[in-house]
Subunit: 555 residues, 2 copies
């Protein structure tokens, strides 16, 4: 007897399983906010649903409510004024633990079906969630809809598919019959029970509060664990809406909704006590290296899946499509003002310049041309505002000012502020390009999060390849790029990418950008360099979130 | 073009894959030293090969030889006097790293084929290895042949099968084609390269130098890593023979034999420097909790797969086969003098006694009957010596003396020494049974490795179930047992086994013993309680030993 929600979503699951098998293109959830797909009223209804949260208490019916808190600061300068329940973490943990035996009893198929139902339901709330993502993170609308809704849902489904595949390998039972020569065989009945490790905590980030939260959330949930979502204090609303939807689905399925809860902690000490609680057996984290490494150091009772800071790098050796290369790089640096963990921070360019289809270009010319390409990409104000979004954090604004001051290198293209007529209070800044020599490592050899890119002058391409590998091995990276017409250079970069364990994008000149990764096809992070100890999504991301407990007896 | 050794071993691999899919009975390597299987001359040739090592330098052609060392102390009192090369660990690491790119290039299929070839070759050396295991560990001959040779090879193959399955899910390449409405689709070629995490170190133990070493060794090797085997100082020879065989296979396959090497460290500081070396990315360990937890604490650069101490427990509630129960428990306590990480240390018996098919038995009667059952099992001297083997460690001898003194509880059945006519210097001791009350936790609530079992008097069965769960959650266990005719008790123990994440054996009265786990069927350890953070063998044991590095470009 299969679970009705497993039956309902069997075709979608199978398509997802096929996709993770081939890693070819597939998507479950439409990335365009098309009324023909989402319904004619979806956009207005979603906006209204988002608006209805503003100025209100966000009710979740969670146990242990001690207070209400909120006060997210929108990069668009608008006021959200949503209040969230501050719950006693011990009450959340107690409720989570109490809910787990029934979740275990549902079995892998039932959990899978319920998780896909949750994702479908999240998809139905895509407009509402996209507005919440846009307003809390500063993403432009289209990115908020894509990355915040559809792509995040795809990443969640990807984790569910991996979790299902691994769990499906565990037989529920078997008869073990060992021959004993002329004597009767030894016969035993064995049962194999999948048991979640324990309560999971998923710590969200300020820039991608759903995209970086759903993989860990659904990986933990699908493998039999309760999940407590601890959002970033500036991006609570997307998490709260998501948690509410998941709790609704659980209730409708006859399960305890406290299997998934939202933890808005009273203070940082509460967060630290939560993640180091003996009942917490996994922590998923996206964010800065300081807290990430604190988690790895202190959460010894838990598996920690961490995506941390990195220094993404592109080696520019030569190109047969100079303008297309410039356009591609310029767009990738501009997108969400470089506030993606995958945005390139370093462009390594040989001191003697590069060969192109437009002839030789000096180092200085490349710098100038990239600056012009950024200006060109952002020439239309409405396009610029849509692409750039707004700056999420005052710390990033401060870093931009530091970059503009020349303290981090020669300013070859200054960042400047833009006004957004729709959101007069929005904090909008264009990318800054800085030039420096390769030996000025103190300037560029650490993450400078935001729209700040260093065009590093290296001795030659060989030095660039070596430096790129060293940067990634030492400081980590989620992305590595190369532009070259020489197969020897591409081969050398390929070897460097293996040595440093980082995904490599080669000669991107079209509609794919180094900072974009596509669910079901691109692995996001390898888990093999300091930028991340796990990958979205592979077997290792799910296989250690559950354990198999067997029992056996003679028959 | 597949690798010839993959083709050669395809059928065996498929059978292993089927076995891990069903977890039903299967074995690749015959556990009986039968001349019809192993050849008429295998026994004598294997003994001669073992003898030929004695008093000699064990040549391995490894780099960086600084000295020769050895001096294993045989529990059988014989002199081995084998000398092993002491190599500079940095030289071993350098050679290991140098050998990895070619190993990566062989690909998952090629690595799998070569690993199975290695296991077949180990199997051909089963008699030689069994003698080495017997003489270094004190195991009896039959156990040495089974656990030291055939079963260890099966566990190695099991790891290879899991590693192959996970790697086979990673497509080598794909075409990614994303529709763009009326515009041409975005098309990219993507490649996915499996890259080992880095140099693996496998730290062996003194009692099962092959059985507990092969899973990590082959899991790491099959997933693309070089492996340095660091054997226990008292059980080097089985590891040295194994490493030599693997190096021979590598050389024959045209690969650098330094992919697998033996590290006999000059001192403990050398070991610590080795396992914390930045190039070492995984450490497999079996042994005491002190060093195991030191590894987990200090090897932050590596994945640590650790099997540590535990307190294995059996709850005795009732039985409909009293004599068979006593025989089964007595044999399991006697086997290899209780020097198995799976041997029960605690028998929890209600103060009011138990119901049996022979009527009610008081707590005292159970104690006495179990002592008598041990005496009966060991009544024939030749059987006793074969079952008990010899005591591996002077520390265990000291613990036996402590148990006999009454300091650990009331002695209900004292251990006594036996003489072995074949090995006059052998250290042989029968099991000790101690009685204590449940509240005397200081006596029994820690691992007392060796033939020392506590029959703990508990208030009632419910208290026994609760205590068993608490013991395992707190101190860890690889095995849990229950004897009961009541389904409510078995159900309660089943829930306890889920809560504590430990394998449960129910009413074992025949030819299967709680301390035995069968490769391809029984998971050895769950990885979910303090006795082990990993399991032989599941996906989690292999999936994080390699990473996937992708590259992509427009087509």
């Amino acid at each position: 007897m299969t679970h009705p929600l497993f039956d309902k979503h069997r075709a979608k699951l199978q398509a997802a399983l096929d996709a993770i098998g081939s890693r070819a293109y597939w998507s479950a959830y439409a990335e365009t906010p098309n009324p023909k797909i989402y319904g004619e009223t979806a956009a207005s209804a979603g906006k209204a649903a988002y608006d209805a949260h503003l100025g209100q208490r966000f009710a979740l019916q969670q146990p242990g409510v001690q207070a209400w808190a909120g006060g997210e600061r929108s990069p668009y300068g608008v006021t959200l004024d949503v209040q969230y329940p501050v719950c006693d973490p011990q009450a959340l943990i107690d409720a989570a633990q109490a809910s787990m035996p029934a979740w275990q009893a549902v079995g892998a198929q039932g959990r899978t079906g319920i998780c896909v139902e949750m994702l479908d339901r999240l998809n139905q709330h895509s407009f509402e969630i996209a507005h919440a993502v846009m307003m809390t993170t500063g993403q432009g609308w289209m990115m908020a809809f894509q990355a915040g809704a559809a792509h995040a849902q795809d990443r969640g489904l990807e984790a569910v598919a991996y979790a299902y595949r691994e769990q499906s390998f565990v037989p529920a039972e078997c008869v073990w019959e060992k021959p004993q020569g002329k004597n009767p065989a030894l016969r035993m009945q064995k049962h194999f029970e999948i048991v979640g490790r324990g309560v999971a905590v998923v710590v969200g980030c300020s820039t991608f509060p759903t995209w970086n939260t759903y993989p860990g959330l659904f990986a933990a949930l699908a493998t039999g664990n309760a999940v407590i979502v601890k959002p970033h204090e500036q991006a609570i609303l997307p998490a709260a809406i998501s948690v509410k939807i998941l709790r609704d689905v659980l209730s409708e399925a006859g399960l305890n909704p406290d299997l998934v809860s939202l933890c808005v902690p009273a203070n940082q000490q509460t967060t630290q006590a939560l993640v180091t609680h003996s009942a917490v057996k996994s922590v998923d984290f996206t964010g800065g290296s300081a807290f990430g490494n604190w988690l790895i150091e202190h959460c010894r009772q838990a598996q920690v899946y961490a995506e941390l800071a990195g220094v993404n790098t592109v080696v520019v050796d030569s190109t047969d499509a100079y303008q297309a290369m410039l356009r591609n790089v310029a767009f990738s640096l501009s997108l969400y003002s470089g506030q993606m963990c995958t945005t390139s921070q370093l462009l390594l360019v040989p001191a003697d310049g590069i060969a192109t289809d437009e002839g030789h270009k000096s180092y200085q010319q490349v710098c100038a041309d990239l600056g012009a390409a950024i200006d060109s990409a952002l020439a239309k104000p409405e396009v610029a505002l849509a692409v750039l979004g707004a700056i999420q954090s005052p710390a990033t604004v401060a870093r931009i000012a530091l970059a503009n001051s020349g303290a981090l290198g020669t300013v070859v293209h200054a960042s400047h502020a833009l006004q957004n007529p729709d959101f007069p209070g929005a904090t909008v800044h264009t990318p800054a390009l800085l030039a420096c020599d390769a030996d000025a490592e103190a300037l560029y050899m650490e993450e400078r999060f935001g729209p700040i890119t260093f065009i590093v002058k290296v001795a030659d391409t060989a030095a660039a390849v070596a430096l790129a590998e060293r940067v990634v091995r030492t400081h980590g990276a989620l992305t590595l790029g190369v532009y070259s017409t020489q197969s020897t250079v591409v081969d050398a970069m390929t070897r460097a990418s293996w040595n440093a364990k980082v995904a490599l994008s080669i000669n991107l000149t079209g509609g794919v950008f180094v900072n974009q990764s596509s669910a079901f096809s691109d692995f996001h992070g390898t888990g093999g360099n300091p930028a991340a100890n796990a990958s979205y999504c592979d077997s290792a991301f799910v296989a250690n979130r559950f354990r198999v407990v067997q029992r056996r007896y003679h028959i």
